[in-house]
Structures are given as structure tokens and as C-alpha cells.
Symmetry: D2
Amino acid sequence: MSQTKDTVVLAYSGGLDTSCILLWLKEKGYDIIAYLANIGQNEDFEEARKKAIKLGAKKVFIEDVRKEFVEEFIWPAVQANAIYEDRYLLGTSLARPCIAKKQVEIAKREGAKYVSHGATGKGNDQIRFELTCYSLYPEVKIIAPWRMPEFYNRFRGRTDLMDYAKKHGIPIPVTPKSPWSMDENIMHISITSHVISPQNHAPDELFVKTKDPRTSPSTPDILEIEFKKGESVAGEICKVRWVKCAPFFSLRRGKHGVGRIDIVENRYIGMKSRGIYETPAGTILHHAHLDIETFTMDREVRRIKQELSLRFSEQVYNGYWYSPECDFVRSCISKSQELVEGKVQVSVLKGQVYMLGRESPQSLYNEELVSMDKQGDYEPCDASGFIRINAVRLKEYHRLGKKVTAK
Amino acid sequence: MSQTKDTVVLAYSGGLDTSCILLWLKEKGYDIIAYLANIGQNEDFEEARKKAIKLGAKKVFIEDVRKEFVEEFIWPAVQANAIYEDRYLLGTSLARPCIAKKQVEIAKREGAKYVSHGATGKGNDQIRFELTCYSLYPEVKIIAPWRMPEFYNRFRGRTDLMDYAKKHGIPIPVTPKSPWSMDENIMHISITSHVISPQNHAPDELFVKTKDPRTSPSTPDILEIEFKKGESVAGEICKVRWVKCAPFFSLRRGKHGVGRIDIVENRYIGMKSRGIYETPAGTILHHAHLDIETFTMDREVRRIKQELSLRFSEQVYNGYWYSPECDFVRSCISKSQELVEGKVQVSVLKGQVYMLGRESPQSLYNEELVSMDKQGDYEPCDASGFIRINAVRLKEYHRLGKKVTAK
Amino acid sequence: MSQTKDTVVLAYSGGLDTSCILLWLKEKGYDIIAYLANIGQNEDFEEARKKAIKLGAKKVFIEDVRKEFVEEFIWPAVQANAIYEDRYLLGTSLARPCIAKKQVEIAKREGAKYVSHGATGKGNDQIRFELTCYSLYPEVKIIAPWRMPEFYNRFRGRTDLMDYAKKHGIPIPVTPKSPWSMDENIMHISITSHVISPQNHAPDELFVKTKDPRTSPSTPDILEIEFKKGESVAGEICKVRWVKCAPFFSLRRGKHGVGRIDIVENRYIGMKSRGIYETPAGTILHHAHLDIETFTMDREVRRIKQELSLRFSEQVYNGYWYSPECDFVRSCISKSQELVEGKVQVSVLKGQVYMLGRESPQSLYNEELVSMDKQGDYEPCDASGFIRINAVRLKEYHRLGKKVTAK
Amino acid sequence: MSQTKDTVVLAYSGGLDTSCILLWLKEKGYDIIAYLANIGQNEDFEEARKKAIKLGAKKVFIEDVRKEFVEEFIWPAVQANAIYEDRYLLGTSLARPCIAKKQVEIAKREGAKYVSHGATGKGNDQIRFELTCYSLYPEVKIIAPWRMPEFYNRFRGRTDLMDYAKKHGIPIPVTPKSPWSMDENIMHISITSHVISPQNHAPDELFVKTKDPRTSPSTPDILEIEFKKGESVAGEICKVRWVKCAPFFSLRRGKHGVGRIDIVENRYIGMKSRGIYETPAGTILHHAHLDIETFTMDREVRRIKQELSLRFSEQVYNGYWYSPECDFVRSCISKSQELVEGKVQVSVLKGQVYMLGRESPQSLYNEELVSMDKQGDYEPCDASGFIRINAVRLKEYHRLGKKVTAK
């Protein structure tokens, strides 16, 4: 409509939704740059490129962000032992800022004032995408069709989208759409169900990235994972290096059924949702890092770092990767990792990860000190004083007739 | 020596160490009351009784504390999702105050001014025992032989103890002592190694309470665990009732190899030690409770409760069950559990616990609200405002030229 | 214009803004119930009533919420030592849920589906009002004119409001409006400046509730404040009773210039604003409670409670008084206060509050124990063991060649 | 006794106690190095040197640690807003590791295996001294006479010490010893009373470092304090430079009666004690730093940093300055200060510190954004979405019939 068209960078997936959005944005008069990140998902990228062009995208950028994702997002999360609500390893949450950061880079480079995405209006991903965009490109304008009555009142369901696609010659999938909403990357896949209730059991065929532990190999794989202070100046510490990392991620994935969880979680938006996740390599790394960290890190540093990790996990889940607070916490956690190095031996079998052993030049474990047979630099009777002094407070409390026991 | 002998209540296990301690205390002129708690360990209690009497104990008390242990110690820990350093479910830590509390009761009832135990001078258990004693019986005097030079310089190893035993007619074990120090109760067994280094793998035969997942059944057991606000006045909330609980604990134990961990942990005393633990039923309950709790508890309450649980876990590990702070935290956690009720379906297989589904009359999950197809009481465009307001701070930060990204 | 008019309960202050809003709502076809809370502000309530009726309010409710405000809002905050960002005693934040709660009660009782207020679109108060309304009356519809383009584009400044008022015969203030936005209640007054920048000093005449310390009396007042477990079943603990409280609040206010602060604070909405507050009695109570609490509360309970108080303060500031998490935290804090009782002597002079002494039947202070001259139930050499055991960890850290000092 | 005498470095103050200890150690056969730190206390150092030599010290070291104390200990505490139990600015706690560090340096340099001090067996200082020593010199042996029965049973009170002094020609103070135990340094003075009970009011003559606010000047001093990122590579940030700092500390001290507190605090050793402290300059800096920090620091960073500061304060109070955890926390806090810079105007009068204004090139305050009259980059109706999304959770909670209000 306008003479000089405004340009939108659309996060394009190749699927029905973003194809329709692409077309709809064009209809609205925008120039479209389609952007598709290769973050390790199972996808025919060339097919997607062709489709985007066919639909009228002025440009298409397919960006391989896998290395960046592993090095700049997954590793800090492993170092943090990041886990949301005690169970979720944040596979999707970590991918979003990585994808959106590149989208913003393209928008800036191409002079686009708008970005758009196909995330729904009830989820976390819209927040993760947009907070990243606003943080890195404060002037940006965001078009989120699924939050615009003009769009969602027109496309009230899959049938409306299919009709629109057919009308505009968008190739539509022949198979009926799965009732699951999936999101995959090199680290994990999330399967969010909008169909089955929390009490219904997930069907076996739902899982994509992990073998069913009932049928997975009966012989464990023994892995050795090495954590080391990185050589690079930028401070990547405590990581399997990329060269080791790549095959690790690609080969081990899911063979032993490790990393399946089925949870109800609390979205940032204030509602509970059910999620099923598969995070094979991430789960193994999580356990291995926990182990080497406790082996090499001072107890009290660990305690403080654990609280910072809780904060970090919430920040990441809620979409605040690019925020002053997450920046601050990441730098604190990174500091805590300086001496976290060593090797962990792990047995992987039937969905389970067992620690077998660990060794480190930085270990704070002192065999002589802890030995029951040797005294080491330790005076047993000191413990009497230690206990009695710690009891001073307890004895006072009791003496004054206060009830120590919960009633 | 003295005419009116002082009386000691000795926590007696029937083993070589406490048998020698019993004798040694008698030699020192004390009257001995042997006390043995039945907390669910595998033990011939009558045999132990006879042995204690033979060794010269004036009285022997064998107390069944299993019900108390489950109801007053394990359940609060399950409610708290208590876990030390991200991995240890605190099976031994929880048992100590339960055992020591009864020991103090006996000492007070029998007019004994002394209590004694066979815990070593480098471990956590001495602290857990003694803080309980000092807290509940401030005037008590504690005899901890393994911290007394007079004792540990005389008995420098197993051979010295054996010789002493032989000399005094203490029946000595014919088999060589296992190189493992074990502590068992209804919830778990701990196997602390003072022999193998953290890098050495635990031998298969070490495990006692759980089947090897490689040879455990290939067919999962499907359990349904119900959490409910308890009827009892004392306020035990969110618990499988005792009637259901007993068989659960006794039958399910370890069949599927659930609950093995191998860790290096930080003792309160300031050293790191390696521990191997088996907690079959406790592990299943931990996962089930986590699930039902997240399903029924408000997000922000959960967050605060999670921090309280961290504190609780440290208090329990360090021996502060009977302390004003643990009393306070337990009462807060108990308050948080009032609405935690419902049923969780769990699949147990090959060392792993999978959540299958959950239902609750108190669920905060709202199917219509979270649905992608229905709008529910939710206006998608509200999310735009939500995101933009949350971005105000981020945009300001960026605008002032600050570096948002970690470098 | 609809036949059966919808009813709005408007939080009415009698000022220019809400008078115009009242009229504007009528113009829009609503029936108006004007509601004015007496929360201790300096106001001619009868004048306001007449004005509201004159403007066309169908009903006017003037509610005295002072007792409720003191008992149900101020006291829990005193118990919590609630303070936002280390300085602000939350005087306005506490008043909002109290006012809005009554507004909701009226709306429900009168069958009104709408509530309205005159708070701006950039402040905290809109959030505090509305979260209370949504929480207590989820179906309510809220009209916030200052966030509606239709309203704020029409009334772009004070002049527009004045013109509108004049046109509709609203009595308008003859004096030019103060450049300060004030909010007063029994506890405090807030003076938010939208005129002067953070670097400009507040003029002397700005302060309303406190004497200038330069001219306040040179002789201190010595107060004795008693904290006691309340008699009421509902659990109001640690409070000066209402009978004592009323004169305290009314008489002491500001005579000695206590309670002035000038800060830049972080709004929930993500921006920083400058605020000047006067909280005379609240400041004295804050210091007195801190004192008696530390005197009677166990150290570790205090530590945990302090963290809960941080959470509580943020919840209150952000408007979450009526939320599951604030409910939870309040109940925890209330539990912590059970033994907080005693008398504190305080000297108040020239803006400062000095503690002079304190006494309590629940004191954990033990004169003999702490005495340098008497030993009490304390063995000095126990401290050697205490220190050495606490040093085990530090020595290990150092020995392994790690750098203990920050560099 | 021994041919080659063992050497002790004794922290010597020149007073009766450490003079007797010096002599007693000599009597025990040690070679004595007397060490006296000049940390800003009011003391005749040359007189003390002569006395030590007269008593038989082999060497005397009087070390000026004032610059180090200010730069390496006070500033990190100011940056942290360090405060123990909400009131104590840690003046003594900060001095101890500074003094002990130098003592250890001397011991190492002089080849002394022993260090000794005159701190009592019930206080915090013994812990602060000794943890520093063990951390920096793990092999060191510590002689703490006041914890040795051999010493404290011989010297049961001041009279015994006086007799001993007289017998050995130690010059004894003619005036009766003050009933107060004082500890002074450049930052503060602590006056610990072992005589008066917590309910007794401190006499006027007790205060040393601050004027009585009743008689202090009636005209305020207006100070401007500048915080700036330090030039040094080591990362000392946000500090008044030493050149500005020295006169500030020396001149302003106490003229306006700022910084008096009278508290009951919780010692690490588990007992409560009453302390009276004067911290004039430190109190002003505390308020000024709080102000500039909130002005320049992101809200969420501040929140996390505030929790770290709580930890830091406890670490410092308990004597863990030289520990891995304090090292870690200091480095996190230091990171948080990078953008904390600007000028604060402060009025100091009659014991009170008022903030007048502040300015900074790094301010996150945005006048246009926060203005009620200008819209800035802000859409008021976004706040509606923000509030409604935040209410989703609250409405759900209420809808399910749960009780939102505390009962």
C-alpha cells in the first residue's frame, strides 16, 4: 500500500503458521525478510528457503547458529547447573535469545524497523523473543500476529490457515498435523501438549530424541567427560571443547533413553502448563558437571553459587538472557568456575546416568584428612569444642523454656 | 571406682566398636544402659540384646522408632523436597535426631547424666547426635571415645579392638570386616568408603538395598501415590498415610534399582568425603512429591518455599533438627503444604522414575486458560503490554550505552 | 446511554482529577458510586461527600479504615521490619491494598461490575489497586482513565481538566496546584516530585508531617514502647495495642523531625523515580522492633526471617499484598514473632532515634554467659576446637595453592 | 628451657593484658616479637614500643596499616553496603583480618611458628584473628592464653594481673580501668560493656568518637561525596580516592554526632552481647553509597547484589574475610560496582545524615520517561496488559476458592 514499504524480519520456520504469517504480512504491505536459524533441529533448510521465496520473501537468511548456541548459551547453563523448578533443563529457553539475537542483527544490518514471529500469545517464547529484541534493539517494532485480534479472529484454527494457504498456493502438509507442538534444537526437544490433560499419560510414539528405556540397550555406555578451564581469553571455563563437544552432542543423543521428563511447570505469564522434554546430552552433562563441581569447589562458594543459579534459571526461563541481571549473574557464575576442572566417568543406561568416579588436579578432597585410619592434620578432640560451641545457642534456647520441637 | 556409679546411656549397635566401648566404659567405672534403636535396619535385635547383657550392660533398651521416623522425620523431608547439595536425600541425617531423641528420653527417665556413642571424630554423625542431645538435655555430658586420646591412642585399629574383645570374651565376627562403613534405616542405606578413592568405581557387590539396574526387571511397575492432608491433629499434611506407607516402604524397596547415587559431598566439619547411598522409596517419593507440589502450589509460593528447603536441607545435614531455626523452617514448610494433595502416577523401571500423570482437586492447572485453541479468560494482547513494560528497564539500560551482553 | 446503566465504584479523593473522572464516567453512561477512604489523611471528608453528590454520584461511601490499616497492614510490616531497597518504609504501598479491599467490598455489595481510580499510568499505585481488585474480585472490570487514550488525549494537562471542571460547574481550587503529588495516611506522607530532578534539593516548605530537625526541640523525648503477644486469637503478635497505638500515632507525629527520607527508587514498572517520604511514627517503630526482635529472637531464625522480609517488602511494594506468596510469607513472619516481646526505651531527637535500653521476659541474652569475668556454662577452650574445625576447610583451600585473597 | 627458643609474634597493644601475656610467654620460654598495628586508634606508639622492649620483647614491629585498611577493607564494605543484623557497620570486624594479615607476614618473615593474641575466649575477635592466621599460614600454631586453663586459672581477674605486673616491674596504669572494653580504628570505635545490662542506658561520657547530638552544632554541614571507578587495574571501583579519603576520615569524624548505635547482637559463638558503636565517617559513606548505587544500578542487579551483601556481612562478622566464599562474594560485588559513579550531596546534622541530591553520568533515571506530563517512550495502556497478565495467577488462585488473605 505504502510507496516505500516497511521491512519486516520474520522468524520463519517453514511450517504452516509462519508461511501464512509471511503471506499475511505481505498482504499488509510489508517487505519480508525470512530468517531461519539452524540451531540443530531436524529440518530441510533448502526446502524452507525455496518455500519462503516462493511465498514472496524478498530475502531469505538461513543462519547456522549451532556453534554459538553451544558455546555461548548451553555451556553457561551447564556451568550454572541451571534447572527450572527442579526439573527442566531449559533447552527451549536457552535457544530463544540465541535465535532472536541473530534476528536483530539481520534487522539492523538490513535496516528493517520491524521483526515478527509466530509464537502464540499465551506462551513463554513470545516473551523470550521480544525481551531479547527490545534489549538489543530498543527502537524495534514487533509484530506478533497471534496477539493481534485482526489476525487471530481471522484465523481461528488450523482449517482457516489451511484454506488461506490453499487460496494462496502455499504448499500444505498432507499429513494431519500432530497434536503436539514441538520445538527442537541441538540440546533438546520440547513437546507441549495442548491436547492431553496432565493426568493423561504420554503415548510412546510421542518421544523423538530418546529411545524408550524399555527397549534401549541393556549394556551401559561408559563415558569420560572432561571439564577444563578454556584457553580462550573470553573466559569459557569448565567446558568440553567444541571439537569434543560436537560428536558428543550428535552421537550420544538419546541412544540410552536419557533425559525424558514429564512435568507441569509455571509459565512466566502466570499459568501452569504441561510439558514433556527430552534432553539427552544435556542431562548427562548436568550430572557430570554437578559432580566435578562439588569435587573441586569449596562448600561455601558452592552454596552461594547455588542461589545464584536459582536466579539464573528463572531469568533464562522468563526470557531475561539479555538483561543487566543475567549479565551480572553469568559473570559471577563464570568466576566460580575457574577451578572447576577434571574428569568424570559416567555410566549411561536405560534412561539413567550413574557417576562412577572422578578425578581432578584441583580437587579439594584430601584422602588422608578424611581417612578413619589416619589422623592427618586433624585433632579429633577439636570436634568436641566445635560441637559444644555450636550448641551454646541451642542450649540457651532450650534453657529459657522454649519449645524446640515443632508441634 | 566410685561407690555410686555414674550411669551412661550408650547408643549400642551390637558391632565390634560399640561392644568394646561398652566394656571400656565399664572399665572406667560407669554403669551402662545399652540402647539400640530399631529404625528399620537389617539386624538381629535379640542377639544384640543378649550380647549387651553378656558384656555387662545393666539394662538394655531396644526401641522401635520406625513409625516415629517415618511420620516425624521422613515426611517433613519429603514435603520439603529436601536434598543436600543437589543430590543426597538425607537418609542418615534424618535418622540421627530420631535415634538421639529417644536416647535422651531414656537418659532422663533413668536419671543418667551421661550419654555415649561410637561415632568417629571426623564425621557428621557425632554432630547430629550431640547437637540433639545438647538441645534436648542441655545438662547432659557426652562421652565420645573416638575423640578421646585415651581411647583412640589405645585402640589404633581393628586389630587392637579385636584383641581387646578376645581378651574380654566379646564374641568377635569371624568374617573380615567389610571395608565399607554402612548405615541402614527404613529409608536408605549409606555406604561410606574410607578405602577407595573418589576416582575408583564402586564394585557391584557393594549395593545392598537396590537391585542392579542391569539385571532388574524389564517391565516397569506403575505406582499411584496419593498425597493428602493428614487427619491427625499434629498437622501432618501431604502424606501417604502410615497404613499405606508401611508396605510401600517394605515391598517396593529396591526391586527396580531406584535411588543409587555416588557422590563427593561436603561434611559440616569442613572436609569432602565420598558417599554412596541407596534410597529406593525415598527417591520415588521425592519425585512424586515434586510433581504434585508443582501441580498444586502457586508459582511464587513455590519459589520461596524452595529457598526455605535449601535451608532446611542444610540444617538437617548439619545436625540442627532440634534447633529454633529448623523448627521455624519446618513450620513454614508445613504451612506451604496445606493444599498439596492429589494423585501421581509413576512408572519405575531400571533405576529411573518417570512421571506419567497427576490429578488433584487442588490443581491450579486450568485447561481452558492454557489452551491454544480456546481463549479462556485471557486477552492475548495483554501480553504485549506485559512484555513492553518488562522491557522498559531493559531498553533504558541499553539506551544508556551499557553493555548488556557478558563479555 | 444504555438503558440499564452499569455501575462503577470510583475511588474518589475530592480533588480535581477524580472529580473530572467522576463526571467523565457519568458522561460515558455509568452510574457512579463515589468511595472515599479515611486512612488518616488530612481531609475534609464532609466537603468531599457534598462535592461528589453535587457532581452526580448516585451514592457516596466514606469509610474509616484507620483501625484496619494499623492492625492488619502496618503491624505486619513492623513485624517484618519491612523496608524497600534499604530505605523506604512502604507507607503508601501498605495503604493501597487496604483502600482497594474496601472498594471491592462495596462493589460486590452494591452489585457493581466496574471499579475506577485516578492513578496515573506510570506509577506503582495503579498496580497495587488493580492487583488487589483482580485478586479479591476476579470478574471485576477496571476503568483506569489515565491509561485510556480517549481520556488522556482529551485531558492533556491541568488546564484541560480545569476547563472541563469549569464547564461542568466543578468547584475548582483557586490556588495553583502544588508541583508535588502527595499521598498521606496515618503512617506517612509521600511527596513525589515530577518537577525537580534528582540532583535538586527539596525545598524546606515541602515537608508536611515532620518538623525541620534544625528547628525541632533540643530536648529529646524518651519513649518506652512495649511489644507483646496480642490476646486476640487471630494471632496479632508483637504489637502495641490499638488503645496505645492511636495516641502514639497521632501525638508523636513528626514533632522531632523523625522519618524524612529522600531517595531514588525503582518502580515495579521498570523506571527510577525520586521520592520524598515522611514516616515519623513508623520510623520509630521500625527501630524499636528491630531492637526487641534481635534481643529475643534466635540468631538463625532471624537470618531466615530477614530473607523472608526482603521478599515481603518487594511483594508489598509491587502490589502483591493479596497474593498467595504474600499470604504465605506473612504467616511465616507471624510465626517468627511469637516470642518477640518486651520493652524498648527510645530517645527521639532532631530526626534521630536512639536505642537506650531494652528488657524482655523472652530475652536470649545471658549476662553470666557473656560475662568476661564469670565463666558461666562455657568452656573457653572449646572455642579452640570451634575455630580449628572451622579452619579445616580454609587450610585445605590454602594448601592446595589456591589464592584466598581477592586480587 | 629449650636451647633454641621458639618464637611467638604477639599482637601487642601496650595495655595490661598483653603486657602480662608478653611476660608470661617469656616465662614459658618463648622468644617474643611484639607487633602493634597502627590502624588509626588513639595511641602513643613510641611509648608502647619502649614498654615492649622493657618487658623483654626481642623485636618490636609497629606497622602503619591505615592505608591498607581503608583501601582494601573499608571500601569493599562500603561498596557492599555491608551491615550486620541491620545495624552494625562492622568497624571492628573489618579491622581484624587487616591486623592479623600483617601479623602473619611478620611471623613468616621472621620464621616464627607461633602467633599469640590477648582476645578473650568468648568473643568474636579470637575467631577473626585465628581464621585469618590459619587461612594465610596453615601451619601456624596459635597461643590464646585467655583460653588456656593454665593462664586463666592463674589470672582470675584484674587484681591478679596487677599483682603479676607489679612483681615483674610492668608499669601499671594508675587510674582504675574503665568498665568498658574499647576497640578503636580509623573507621569506628566499639565499646562493649561487660558491666551494664542491656536495659541500662549508656552514660553520656561513654562516647569517644562522636559529639553528643544534643550539644553538636545546630548548623548542618553540607558534604559532596564523589564515587568513581578507580584507576587502578586491580579493580577498586566506586571509591573516594585515598587523597580525598584521608582528610575526610580525619576531619569529619564525629563533629555532628553521626554514627552512634546501641544494640544487642548475635556473636558467632552463639551468645547475645550488647555493643555500643560509633562510626561517624562510615555511617555517612554508607548512606551516600546506598544513594548513588540505587541511582545508577539496575533494579534487579541491585536485588541480587543485596543478597550477596547479606552473605558478605555475615562472612566479615564471623571472621571469614580470608576464605574462598568471601573472596568469591567480594569479586561479585566488585563487578556490580563498575557503573556506580557520581556525586551525592549530603547534609549532616545532629546525628542524622540527609540525602539532598545526587547526579551521575551513569544514572538510569530518565526524567522524560518518569514524567507525568510527558509520555516519553512509554505507552500507558501497556500497563493494563502488564497488570492483567500479572493478575492471571492471582485470579486463578482466587477462583479455585483458595483463601488469599491471611487469617
